[in-house]
């Protein structure tokens, strides 16, 4: 009896399965045909057109690797290989050409009144140290930076890859490490000379009259005339921009992705080549462009006649201070170095 019930159960169960299967099969078949894998799947073309970058999820901890395609690198490539080389060459070769033409036309701007023999302290030891620390770093940073952009077409064919790679490796490390004293220098320059570099009404007059270089007369200038103020703000703002964009590149993926690093590189490179061009002008005026100018950063003192011609307002101020002050600042107690 029990075996009969068991057999019936088995038959019943089998029948149930068969019935279920026969009813469910068309349903499954129907579902399969209603799903269109082509329409449902993500398409590369569509994603690229919509987003420009294709991202997903991966199973390794490195979330950078979840970006699988970002064709923006090709635009960046064009910038780095073509646009930047043009901007850099035009800016740097252009300014050098201008300076040569200017020098041939104007020559060294002399102290009109001749040297008085009286010295005025212009920059103290601290100011000069900061200036030369920043300047030394700048020159090395500029050379190592230009090497990255112009080394391959200009230097590599001359010295070959065996010498060019170690040099570039060294230049890269110099660029990284000297960025710290350079940034410190820019911050100190900003703080110690900000007082004399706020634009004033006198600057407009100075600019209209072409300053002491282009113009033939000597418009009144404060401790820093409008031309020097321009250099100051180029150093502070340009230096700030290269420092910020440089540190973004130096610390990859600290809150950045590849796209922001591309932008940082564009900013860094453009500001840097313009900065180099501006500093070439600064170096020109500070050396062969103007008599008596280098001494300000060399020995720290300038001739009183030079100061009167280029910084009349400052001289008046200094004289006034000396008059009321018990410690005379002028003439300077020590001779020019």
């Amino acid at each position: 009896m029990t075996t009969l019930i068991a057999k019936l159960r088995m038959v019943g169960g089998a029948l149930l399965i068969v019935t279920l299967a026969t009813f469910s099969c068309p349903a499954i078949a129907q579902q399969e045909t209603s799903v269109n894998p082509t329409a449902q799947s993500v398409k590369e073309d569509q994603l690229l057109n919509e987003l420009g970058t294709i991202r997903g999820l991966g199973s390794i901890p490195d979330i950078r690797s979840y970006t699988i395609e970002q064709p923006a690198g090709r635009d960046w490539r064009h910038f780095h290989e073509v646009t930047l080389r043009w901007i850099g060459s035009v800016a740097i070769v252009g300014i050098l050409a201008l300076l040569i033409i200017f020098y041939l036309w104007r020559g060294m701007v002399r102290i009109e009144g001749g040297r008085s023999g009286v010295r005025i302290v212009r920059f103290n030891v601290f100011e000069r140290s900061v200036h030369w620390m920043t300047a030394t770093c700048f020159v090395i940073l500029a050379i190592s930076g230009l090497n990255i952009t112009f080394g391959k077409p200009l230097l590599l064919p001359l010295i070959g890859p065996g010498a060019f790679s170690p040099w570039s490796q060294f230049a890269k490390y110099a660029h990284y490490y000297l960025s710290f004293p350079f940034t410190l220098g820019v911050i100190l320059i900003f703080l110690m000379w900000i007082a004399g570099n706020i634009p004033t009404a006198a600057d407009i007059d100075w600019l209209k009259r072409g300053g002491g270089m282009v113009g033939r007369d000597h418009p009144p200038g404060g401790r820093f005339n409008a031309g020097q103020k321009a250099i100051y703000w180029i150093v502070v703002l340009g230096g700030g921009a290269v420092a910020v964009s440089g540190y973004i590149l130096m610390f990859p993926f600290y809150g950045t992705d590849v796209h922001s690093m591309q932008i940082a590189e564009v900013v860094h490179a453009i500001v840097a080549v313009l900065f180099v061009a501006a500093m070439l002008g600064h170096i020109y005026i500070g050396t062969i462009g103007m008599e008596g100018a280098f001494e300000a950063m060399g020995s720290g003192t300038v001739d009183a006649n030079w100061a009167k011609e280029h910084h009349s307002l400052w001289v008046d101020q200094e004289m006034g201070r000396t008059g009321s002050n018990t410690t005379p600042r002028q003439p300077a107690p020590r001779a020019a170095e």
Partner: protein
Amino acid sequence: MARMKFLCDADRCIECNACVTACKNEHEVPWGMNRRRVVTINDGKPGERSVSMACMHCTDAPCQAVCPVDCFYTTADGVVLHSKDLCIGCGYCFYACPFGAPQYPRVGNFGSRGKMDKCTYCAGGPEADNSNEEYEKYGTNRLAEGKLPLCAEMCSTKSLLAGDGEIIAQIYKERVMRRGYGSGAWGWKTAYRETITS
């Protein structure tokens, strides 16, 4: 001469990551670096697809163009390789690469990059084929032994194809024809400036 390419048929990829593991093991790729990885798009949603991605060995490779020390070269097979002796670890190839292929070991302070490492298409580097120096820097050189990249060779669903571009494009085309759909040859337009139309 063959023009070697990769093609990932995303409609077949099951995200098993065997290609990633095979690559890391074959070439002793160090910790924290992956020459190949699998990325899933629309994970868990209808229409999800996984793509195995590595260096695509681009035609007119952007990394090669931007490298400031010119350390890249393209072999006769169209494989883009580089010299770790010349690389200075500047990171420019990473900015330019559309596929995020270049990897850098982190050396020294802050984010300082070491010599770049990337997929070699199992073709080593400039050193003598299968020499110790080559193995230490770039991993094995299977191509010199007449073998294809290991990732594609051992792909269980044959989703990842490696070989002559025309042949693998033909295989993909036939697959798309037979099954009636295909999500595209991922990266081909960007890497090779061409698409596979079927």
